[in-house]
Symmetry: none
Subunit: 231 residues, 4 copies
DNA sequence: AATGAATGAGGATTCATTCAT
DNA sequence: AATGAATGAATCCTCATTCAT
């Protein structure tokens, strides 16, 4: 990390901070809570500075712990990151599933898709750290890490795939590999989510979701052209 | 890097290798060639292990040089990487521009698009290292590196944007921000290219290009549905 | 450092030494003591080999620590040196001030001067490392180090200056820039101190102090000559 | 050294500089001249940046040679420095001797001394590099280098010593070790010379020489006080 | 003689990890 | 459980020196 030069002489802080009351996590619950605190801190710091530029000490500082303690809860820096990513993966999966369920009663496919995409955009909006982690560190750390991005992609894709297959059978969606179609949709969503993070786009999540949905559904050729052509 | 521990202590190689490993690059041409050799080695190693896990020594080994020599040709690890990326960026840019020019005489938009996408996929196919560098390290190394990915994205997008605008005016493409449409297309191309790299997809570049093109043009809703609906 | 090649390869010491060389400095006091130990080791090694030829590892070895530990107590080699010099500077300043105070009740100027000079010579005598540091490294390391020698010189000079001015007013000292006179005295003291360090002079500090004092007071022209001349 | 970032890409300079006509030193004279050029360049660069911060390459650049060539004329960086110092030592010795000879006809001791001191101050004035070398690097490089400073000091001292002895016999100078007296005089001269280099003293060399001479001759106690006292 | 490419020893520094307290 | 000293592997980079051309 190597920033904040203001807190030069170590020790000092510790003396001035009697704030932290729960010094020792005794119960199982407390321990679990402490674990979570570390994960939250790790997420924040990893997302800001990247895996390689983040030291255990940085995380510990944010978690208001000594860095030695991090090793009580996690085996290594790598396993901490792995667990963090796994946790985030799950969270995202559950969230998306919920969104799908919520909108499953919605029989109008476009509306369902729009809702799902919007939900995803909003999720990433409020979870920019995950975006960073996913698109920066997850890829940056070689094979054993990039699985996370892959998992999320395929988790996402699988959900979409099922729907695609269903609608294909009903004739509402073109034939073609559901896997590929799902991957295309996933790509658009994630890339636009990332784009929103990197650029200053003043479009609302809803409008963007509509844009993406329409693009996915009808492509860029005006429908009337198709009609004319065919008709 | 920290791998291959098999050649641990008394490297047999060393015995067979005279003090100076490589002939001197005397002429300007030879120097330039040596530079290129280092860039090529760097590309290979960076792509395989990532920027952070690659040491100058690793690159030197692959380039068959001592690490000191790398510093004869490049100022620092970072500048070596920067130059590599800039070089690759340019190469890609030129390649794509050529493809566009080649197909510009092709007045049939879908064919032109298919050709461009196919060309891009094939380029990345034969240049997997660049893909890795772009999607892993370029993002992973903070602001001053991220620019490379951004440049490529925006280079790509700009080319597409122009076309989009042109066809929009002719009424062959739906209205809507050309920037966003171009970004969507770029995303699909790069993500599918990346996907090809990561998974074992036995689809040909051409077939994939057709798939992407159709998707972009017509979306996932069967055309007849639209016709019926509208009709 | 790069000397003593006798304990070349398999250092016997290492076999006898357990993994952790030294007990942990746990209390604040112990930490402070450890810091001091490092400073003392640094002083010794810097004084012997010079700043540039001393590696952190050399200091650590003398301090019986791993080099990593030195970085636990100091930010960098330079800051370690700076702190060392600042510490020594202060020590010398305090010492000289004490000597002055001790002899201030001594109303006989020559005696006071002799005492002060003798004290200084003795101080440097028992602190040869400081002499080395001052006259070798302090000058050798460029602007940001040179300050230390300058500080000591001017500290010294200022003390003398005050006295000079006082006696000038009383008519006991010749007119002329007190600054220059003080500088001359300072030069003589420091140079003779340095000389004692470099050569084997069997003169006592007291005798040398008397010699210097007389020289300063009366110069090299025999007093009777002056008297005769004037008389 | 590590400055001048303007000449980034190597080669360039060489192409633009056909200035240097004598590319190859064939005759003995030319070789000797080339040697001198290197020594002169070395003096300049060493004096500016210090021994440790000067690279052979820096010297070569100033000497308008490739660094490889430096090794044709000198065995190593150290031997180059040694030779430089020896050369300077001799030059100073000769200069001072000349001054002494010039003033030997001058039977008035104070005038002779003033002249000698003034000459020395002026010599150092026009040879600030030597001052730097002497008081910075010569000391900074450990035993095998500090001999140079010692030699100069003792060379100086010896010259003075002889005179002192002579005048002592005549009763014009106080009794006491001529060596010590000479050392004192030497110290004053060199320290004031150095002081002139480091500070902005607007005193002329002559005035300073007079000041030093008077100080050496009569000390700081007003002569009339002595007369009164004695009388 | 001159050049400058190639080499590699050397050293500062970072930081994950261990472990005594 | 928590702390933070202590360790040392790892790596970037500099530059004196060698030597092919």
């Amino acid at each position: 990390m190597k920033l904040d030069q203001e807190s030069s002489n170590n020790d000092k802080e510790l003396e001035e901070i009697p704030t932290r009351l729960i010094r020792r996590a005794n119960s199982k619950d407390e321990k679990e809570r402490r674990r979570q605190e570390i994960l939250i801190a790790a997420k924040k710091v990893f997302a800001e500075y990247g895996y390689n530029s983040t030291s255990i000490s940085d995380i510990a500082k944010v978690a208001n712990l000594s860095y030695g303690s991090v090793y009580w809860y996690f085996d290594s820096k790598e396993s901490l990151f792995q667990e963090l990513m796994t946790f985030e993966e799950d969270e995202l999966r559950v969230y998306i599933q919920n969104q799908i369920n919520l909108n499953s009663k919605n029989f109008d496919p476009p509306s369902a898709l729009i809702a799902a995409i919007e939900a995803t955009l909003i999720f990433f909006e409020s979870n920019k750290e995950l975006l960073r982690l996913l698109f920066r560190d997850s890829l940056a750390l070689g094979d054993r890490f990039e699985a996370h991005l892959y998992n999320i992609y395929s988790g996402f894709s699988k959900l979409i795939e099922t729907n695609i297959s269903y609608y294909q059978k009903k004739g509402n969606v073109i034939q073609g590999s559901p896997k590929l179609i799902a991957f295309a949709i996933t790509s658009l969503i994630t890339q636009f989510a990332h784009r929103r993070f990197l650029t200053d786009d003043n479009m609302t999540a809803h409008d963007l979701a509509v844009f993406i949905t329409e693009l996915i559904m009808f492509g860029i050729i005006p429908r009337q052209n198709i009609i004319q052509e065919k008709g």
